[in-house]
């Protein structure tokens, strides 16, 4: 049942081809608007923050866990960052506060999952409610605004024509991808997802590692909160209720198994972009929103089917 890991690598090629096919198709259908640097840059920029969440989620899902709390942690961290900036006037302190807050929530998740042995779904559903509720308590339910120097600074800054936020997210994703693929930390992540009991017997510090993995996911969500605050200028207390599903979907589209042990960050990157490209392309083509939902759903299934089908053909 479990997907051969070696083919996991190859799979990226296939799902990557699906993405490439979509890009080509939209470029042909809307040559004047889709394949412009303006559009593609916006596309990347809009996906960047989700990418961070999905990267953290990849680690979690590879351990056979799940993290529903990312959206709540993002909002909570953004609120803390905004409050700290407001209070201290220091952007650096604000960023640090946001990231540390995210890490804290992640570690809480990890502790409850690893030491409390509560199903990850329940733990993170609980912390989702707690973090969202907490954010609302801190703000009174009214979105906080980012100070102009953050919104106009980090939020708009570009380097080589590409938004700084994109660079940050891409760099972190790349480091995370390399870590998962090539380091001991990554190896233990796969081992735990593949067989937690065997890993424990093999001497992997399973509990500590799980805490680190959930901590990482929380940290990335905290950073995403700060970046989102910079980019959109608001904390978005109502805006992130579907982040968790989006991130999980991206991870699974990218070939990571919900049952753990298998997956790559590179796949997740493609998994983030497939729905984003579909949505963007159909919007540019002027497809009506309701039809978009239908078509995006259908194409998504078809894309993953092509991928599975190719894989199976190889597998036989």
């Amino acid at each position: 049942m479990k997907v051969v890991r070696e083919l996991g690598r190859l799979q990226i090629v296939w799902i990557g081809l699906v993405l490439a096919g979509l890009l080509v198709a939209f470029s042909v259908l809307a040559p004047g608007s889709f394949p412009t640097s303006f559009n593609l840059l916006n596309l990347v920029s809009d996906a960047a923050i989700l990418l961070l969440l999905a990267t953290g989620m990849t680690f979690v899902i590879v351990t056979a866990g799940i993290d529903l709390s990312v959206g709540g942690v993002l909002v909570f961290s953004a609120v803390v960052a905004a409050k700290v900036i407001e209070g201290t006037g220091s952007l650096t302190l604000g960023a640090a506060a946001g990231v540390v807050t995210g890490l804290g929530w992640g570690v809480l998740n990890g502790v409850l999952v690893a030491l409390g042995r509560i199903p990850a779904l329940i733990v993170t559903l609980g912390t989702l409610g707690m973090s969202l509720g907490g954010a609302l308590l801190l703000t009174g339910g009214v979105d906080l605004r980012a100070p102009a120097e953050l919104n106009l600074g980090l939020g708009l800054a570009r380097w080589l024509g590409v938004p700084l936020i994109v660079w940050i997210c891409a760099a972190i994703t790349a480091v995370a991808g390399l870590t998962l693929a090539w380091t001991r930390f990554g190896r233990h992540t796969y081992a735990i997802g593949s067989n937690a009991e065997a890993s424990r017997r093999g001497g992997v510090a399973v509990r500590g590692h799980l805490i680190k993995v959930y901590g990482l996911a929380g940290l990335l969500a905290g950073l995403a909160g700060h970046l989102s605050l910079a980019k959109y200028g608001i904390t978005g207390v109502s805006a992130h209720s579907t982040d968790n599903l989006q991130a999980i979907a991206a991870v699974v589209i990218g070939g990571t198994s919900l049952f753990g042990g298998v997956g790559t960050v590179a796949g997740t990157v493609i998994g983030v972009f497939i729905p984003v490209v579909l949505q963007n392309g159909f919007q540019i083509l002027g497809v009506r929103p309701f039809w978009q939902q239908v078509v995006v759903g259908a194409v998504l299934v078809a894309a993953v089917y092509v991928d599975q089908w190719r894989r199976r053909a190889r597998d036989q």
Binding site: K2, R5, R187, Y190, S194
Partner: protein
């Protein structure tokens, strides 16, 4: 004689209603090969798991080098130099043989990359292949996951792993069950050479030939209790089978093992711990 390396007394372990161990004794000295035999469900694997730190006993005492320990984590047992081939192998099916071989002990690249935790996959693959081939187990592909290996190949990886890392004791729970004839011979050779290097071996096996061929002592478990202990050189296969199935103690016709009932379990346990030159009789049930 020095204190035993491992001395476990009155180990009790139940799973819900099922009593897997009901006061089992076991002791092991340095550099000896002890076979642990018993019928299916006698509690052999449970005992091995408890002494490897995988399961926590409900009762009883364990001492290591004469010091009482409360194993409960694998780390402790590993730190004490104990390695185990589990009956269910305990491999990560999605990972490659090399990843499993080095699990928890990954080799890192030299230099800066190593400090960053980057794995030295080439080296790990090479060493894994070598260790397996020493057992006569050929791995068709080093990058295929363990789930793609044949039963014997998997077992080869597990045995090679435990034998490579053990410093004081290696528990082998039916290490040759899935192995071919040649590979089984190699594992028996391995057991001897490991023993010669000073590592004690506990061999759990249903194959009496293998037990006779390689062990110094034989301990018999039945229904969660140690019921007999023998010196291998002085026991016949029939006697072993009799002790396992309980046929022997029922009619007690075997003079050599027909000790007084009063010697009982404790006596048997102490005898076994005393030295390889003696042999204990079967304890009461």
């Amino acid at each position: 004689m020095a204190v035993p390396l491992i001395d476990a007394r009155g180990i009790v372990k139940s799973y819900g209603q099922v009593e897997a161990l009901r006061g089992a004794d076991f002791s092991l000295r340095g550099g000896e090969v002890v076979a642990l035999i018993g019928d299916n469900g006698a509690g052999k694997s449970t005992l091995a798991k408890i002494l490897s730190g995988v399961e926590r006993p409900d009762g009883g005492t364990i001492s290591l080098d004469g010091e009482s320990v409360a194993f409960g984590t694998v780390e402790e047992a590993r730190a004490a130099g104990i390695e185990t081939v589990y009956q269910d192998l305990a491999l990560c099916a999605d990972l490659s043989p090399a990843a499993n071989f080095f699990l928890g002990r990954e080799r890192l690249r030299p230099g800066l990359l190593g400090l960053l935790g980057v794995l030295d996959n080439v080296r790990m693959r090479r060493e894994t292949r070598e260790a397996c081939e020493r057992l006569g187990v050929r791995l068709a592909s080093m990058s295929a996951p363990v789930s793609a290996l044949s039963g014997g190949q998997r077992q080869g990886v597990a045995v090679a792993r435990a034998a490579t890392w053990a410093r004081r004791v290696v528990f082998m729970d039916e290490p040759t069950a899935a192995l071919g004839v040649l590979q089984t011979r190699r594992v028996l050779d391995l057991i001897r050479s490991v023993r010669d290097a000073g590592v004690s071996v506990v061999l759990i096996s249903h194959n009496m030939q293998d037990v006779m061929a390689v062990s110094d002592r034989v301990e018999v478990l039945r229904l969660g209790r140690r019921v007999a202990g023998f010196e291998t050189g002085r026991v016949s296969m029939e006697e072993l089978v009799g002790a396992m199935t309980g046929a022997m103690e029922q009619d007690e016709r075997n003079g050599r093992n027909g000790q007084d009932e009063a010697a009982g379990r404790d006596a048997a346990g102490r005898d076994a711990a005393a030295g390889p030159g003696e042999q204990a009789g079967p304890g009461e049930r």
